[in-house]
Symmetry: C2
Subunit: 210 residues, 2 copies
Amino acid sequence: MQTRQGQSIEDASMSIIEDEIVSHDYDTWEWPIVRRIIHSTADFDFARDNRVIFHDDAIQSGIKSLNNGCNIITDVNGIPGLLNKRNLADFGNNTICKISDDKIANLAKKANSTRARVSMQQSAAEMENGVVVIGNAPTALLEVISMIHQNEARPSLVVGVPVGFIQAAESKAELEKIQVPYITNRGRKGGSPVAAAIINALFKLLRSSP
Amino acid sequence: MQTRQGQSIEDASMSIIEDEIVSHDYDTWEWPIVRRIIHSTADFDFARDNRVIFHDDAIQSGIKSLNNGCNIITDVNGIPGLLNKRNLADFGNNTICKISDDKIANLAKKANSTRARVSMQQSAAEMENGVVVIGNAPTALLEVISMIHQNEARPSLVVGVPVGFIQAAESKAELEKIQVPYITNRGRKGGSPVAAAIINALFKLLRSSP
């Protein structure tokens, strides 16, 4: 539900990005996603040192699941707030984020674990054919990778772009090794706006695909 | 409500930032805020080219208002989701974000304006002695600046860190000219995590101040 004025600002931003990027090696499906990340962060690093990486089947698998009204499981509450509400309503996708649940906090304390990690363990059922979106916590991403290895979780796409200094880059390097479709990036940068930009861009591709 | 494990990851991150920053010219009140931004973005630019700028009274004014349970008015829904929930509960602060209200969308269409701009106009009353937090929309920040100039809005602090290619840097340059306390940064970068990091850091300062 964007106003004409809002759309025109977005279009102008995208033009500036096209002008300034000079060159990139993303294909016609990938580039709208990377461009939206740059639009959300004003940071061209996401096409350079902190470049976005796509599993070969990531975009098609993600689009298909979103189109089927899949769950979107996130590590932090900030991500749902940044997603386009009309897309979620039109395609019937529920966002699920358990990190602030009292139950999660209690379980995490008992296990000397993180709330992020436990919130993923407690969302295994909702992940079935769902899209998992990690924008903040490396421990959440490492847990999802472990759950996939154990066949405890079977998402159709993992968007893993945690940010930070402890295990963020390492957890993303682990994600690049899994067989399940993923979208991630190299290095320390990432975050909720990057995660949300990827999902919003996937919906745009879904709407424009034949 | 952070687990011991979560706190230890945060402490380790902060140590890395202290090690890698080499030097900076922020004072003992400012640096914990800038450091938390770097922690949230993994981007040292916020102490360099996109450096954070503080009005002389910004931190004290913000802390005082938050301590008094002031409203926190945001331009996008992503910011409340990134704020520490316990702080809001303990100090009685309400978060207000009207951008997704149907009324705002209708008004914006009629006026050929942006939802961000109209949502600020429609929040003037709630801004009285409140903290305004703009993490995304330059038009929202420009509107708040205009409302302050017209004496239509009297917040105690404006956190203005919109991100992007159109008017973001320009709107922040305008913010640096106002008399009302502000926290902003130079250049195109910014965003919801930056905005939320500033508020979360202000609460930390509030809790640790005498």
